[in-house]
Amino acid sequence: MTSYSEYSEYTEYTVGEPIQDEQAPSGPVNERWDTRRFEAKLVNPANRRKHTIIVVGTGLAGGAAGATLAEQGYHVVQFCYQDSPRRAHSIAAQGGINAAKNYRNDGDSIHRLFYDTVKGGDFRARESNVHRLAQISVEIIDQCVAQGVPFAREYGGLLDTRSFGGVQVSRTFYARGQTGQQLLLGAYQALSRQIAAGNVEMHARTEMLDLIVVDGRARGIVARDLVTGRISTYFADAVVLASGGYGNVFYLSTNAMNSNATAVWRAHRRGAYFANPCFTQIHPTCIPRSGDHQSKLTLMSESLRNDGRIWVPKAKGDTRPPAEIPEDERDYYLERIYPSFGNLVPRDIASRAAKNVCDEGRGVGPGGQGVYLDFADAIARMGRKAVEEKYGNLFDMYERITAENPYEVPMRIYPAIHYTMGGLWVDYDLQTTVPGLFAIGEANFSDHGANRLGASALMQGLADGYFVLPSTINDYLARNPHKDEVDASHPAAVEAVRETEDRLARLLTVDGDRTPDSFHREIGELVWEFCGMARTDEGLRKALDRIPQIREEFWRRLKVPGTGEEFNQSLEKANRVVDYLELAELMCLDALHRAESCGGHFREESQTPDGEAARGDEEFSYAAAWEFTDTGAAPVLHKEQLTFTYVHPTQRSYA
Amino acid sequence: MALNFWQSTLGKKIVMGATGLIMIGYLCAHLLGNMKIFFGPGEFNAYGHWLRVMGAPVLHHEWGLWIARIVLLAAVVLHAVSAYQLSRRDIKARPQKYVHTKPRMSYATRTMRWGGVILGLFIVWHVLDLTTGTTHSGGFQEGHPYQNVVDTFSTWYGNVIYIVAMLAMGMHVRHGFWSAAQTLGAGNHTRDRALKAIANALAIVLTAGFISIPVGVMTGVVS
């Protein structure tokens, strides 16, 4: 028993049995994927039609998986809450996708991508998973080109690449600022082809609300038709969650408004361990909020930092317009603190530095929550035309949102939550701790450790969906032939439906005086404050004390108009907030227990003398997989010890 | 194949575009011939006669004329039938109007349907008036087109019907020519200015040219 707080029982978590990834083969890291594929049992092609696989989500991971599994002959039943599978939030990714093609002959290789990813993840990811990702990256590009993804090309007709996110090789393939959109449409089109062929049964505007576990195996889901409100059960031989990350716990994030954590959280409640929930990524170049009405934040490509200079006034509370602040009264703080990397330091460092100067009272714009990203020097050096060519669409987007012209007035930026590295714990086969339940893409925790590199999210989503899962799920299906059919009358299904219906009915009957959004905003602000860019023992305890109170108030004062038997967006929202109110607690506990700084998780107590993140490898070189016990009750921690054979942990240094 | 073609909205549009171009071609020839009216009855009536012996001696008397008439009739019917069917479909595809409406298409675009109906009615009247003479105002004389034309434009309603119809024709041609080019796949960024210029030129020349005849009669240039 580790006791932390005298107020919250939740902090008194127990440490259970260690957990291990038993599916990754031993042997040289570069042979493990081949070995695993060879050792995995196969399902006879003629028998695949008899197997049903549920896929929840249609983003890069889900869309790719649904299409590929259907191509292999499985019967796929797929779900998305959006009105069309084409709208999954992968579509909003801007920058690009990494692949170790080495088309530039600039020294890139699979091993270098592997190395960069493990190091970038601050040594909290599994070597075997990351190496596989680097290997597969090459095939992804081939696949996407064959599908007609219009990647940027050079005049010779070959693919263009650029350097991204501070790496020294140009391995990022892109389609202007809409790489995510183009890759997603590729997957969507492949999925559409399978829908037309009758191999995928697509349920749009249908949200998974619970997992059905029968005899310890995932056998189906409970889902609500968002148009009619009808609650139905769907059954399968395996369930794949590709439902994305949980960044919307923070209320304000770059996630889509309806992205949510319900699928993963309900799976967690049914026995799937949740790993490293406190590993969340903050992106430094987002457009700051303009007021209390702000509903979400918009990210601008990190590439802006290649030519923009970041500064704040030297004096506190300097409210002069930027043009009136003379050069010697400006603090180009990144260039000052990190002279060698300057404005190009990694995301987490840039973000924290911005927070620090704003905390000092030197922030700019409404509420002092912003720093300048100034292109005046770039325009003077390259000419306005060149800047326009390079960043025109981003400048336009900025101007549309803020009504300020960034060619004349420096942009204002501020960090925002953008990606969650944590997620459901999975083994090398991407299977969770519930047999038959798989998690892919951002929904799992596997490849990015404590920090994700730029242009790696698209790579991982597609690797999982196109290549990894379709290989590994065969093994599970071949080894676990389900003889017994499960239907809606099975006690486990009846129970899951009843619980779901009760929860929705309860949300509708509170009839208080506060909207679902007001609670979402409250929990989001709390988590941002105490479990955001910088975390402290004291702050996290405060948050952990406060969360149960908010939860109590939620069930006392919530107001949801309408009924459950109709299209009811307030009800959808309220039901998602129920899960945020629990997930936020686990995030804070995870952040509290990990008394080290690593990647996106910065504990103020754990710093080097010059203020950089200090990892605690001796104590914390593990992935924290949490087992659910009950709402508000202390969870059980299972540690997966990480070993580094190929990339040896070093302290990052960018000074 | 032909059935599939005709059943597609694109196929019908292509039929409309192609028949429209045929009719524009005819209008150009028709206008050139009509201009002879400014050179006196002799020349104009001789032209009227030539239309009947066109293609001789290969073609029998009036065969050339009838071939032209059949082609034109087919074009008009196909154009009208596809327009009718497409319009019905279009109206069905947007059953509910917006509460907040605002006109925004160009006038020529908006008036294609009604303009087309007006032109259809005009063609019937025009044939009855000057080809068969059924509704002609003053004693229709077979073989004396010059006098027939002068008679028609000596009545106020003859002038009104004709001039209104020619204005409608101009607008129809203006959007129709450009539209046909798009439907037949001939438009693109670089060619667009030229296509629009041709459409405008065709509309102006055809309208002004045809209207010059009643104006000529009214002003006494043609009498």
Binding site: V145, R400 | S8, D90
Partner: protein, 248 residues
């Protein structure tokens, strides 16, 4: 800012709908249009009224979910998506009419939410390149001339929001369909299915009950991604070519 909002309210697909009027105060110029509606909905919920249902998701102009006709314009007065429209485009005291996409192929589900699944079925009819996972050749095996790649990209930008259909007086889906046809047909990877793609997609578009094109240009004017009207011309050309080459 103080605004008068006139909003289409319709309980379900079968119920009759009508415009309802709401007064909204305290609107900031910096709000996006959807944030303004959020404020309205928060007020409605607290009052115990049903909030206005509308589709939205990414709120950064790329997912294509948002779909409002604002004062008669699909996505409102600016050339962008509704989510990227800001209240500074309006004046204090304005009356704003908000209606759903109108087309028989896009039936209303509730209030401002419509069913756009017809678009998915048009894509399913052929808006893809058959490239089973794992069967792909090396990416550099087939160079694509930059002009073709740019042309493909220009059309691939379509977000499938349906503004083109909403703006078209005929409820036609030509711009949507042509964007995908052109994206895939210009690429060497798309050429094996070039003819069947355009024939099948156009046939599906017709079967969904979309109207025909009268080249009014409303679609291209409303398109938040600037898909050009000539996209339709190019598809017409592809279709004509395909009817000549494929005997069905």
């Amino acid at each position: 800012m103080k605004l008068t909002l006139r909003v289409w309210r319709q309980k379900n697909p079968d119920a009759p709908g009508a415009m309802a009027t709401y007064e909204l105060d305290g609107v900031s110029q910096d709000m996006s249009f959807l944030e303004m509606l959020d404020v309205l909905n928060e007020e409605l919920i607290v009052k115990g009224d049903e909030p206005v249902a509308f589709d939205h998701d990414c709120r950064e102009g790329i997912c294509g979910a948002c779909s409002l006709v604002i004062n008669g314009d699909a996505h409102g007065p600016e050339r962008t998506t509704t989510c990227q429209l800001h209240m500074r485009s309006f004046q204090d005291g304005d009356t704003i009419d908000i209606e759903p996409w109108r087309a028989s192929a896009f039936p209303v589900i509730k209030d401002l939410v419509v069913d756009r699944s017809a678009f998915d079925r048009v894509i399913q009819a052929g808006g893809y390149i058959t490239a089973p996972t794992g069967a792909a050749p090396e990416a550099h095996a087939t160079p694509v001339p930059k002009a073709d790649a740019d042309f493909a990209f220009e059309h691939a930008e379509c977000i499938g929001c349906g503004a083109c259909v909403a703006a078209c007086p005929n409820g036609a889906a030509m711009l949507f369909t042509s964007a995908k046809v052109n994206h895939l047909n210009v690429l060497p990877q798309g050429s094996p299915e070039r003819e069947t793609r355009v024939l099948d997609m156009v046939a599906q578009m017709d079967a969904e009950g979309f109207g025909g094109c009268t080249l009014t240009g409303e679609c291209a004017t409303a398109c938040p991604k600037g898909i050009p009207l000539f996209s339709i011309t190019a598809m017409n050309k592809e279709w004509l070519r395909a009817t000549r080459k494929v005997k069905r």
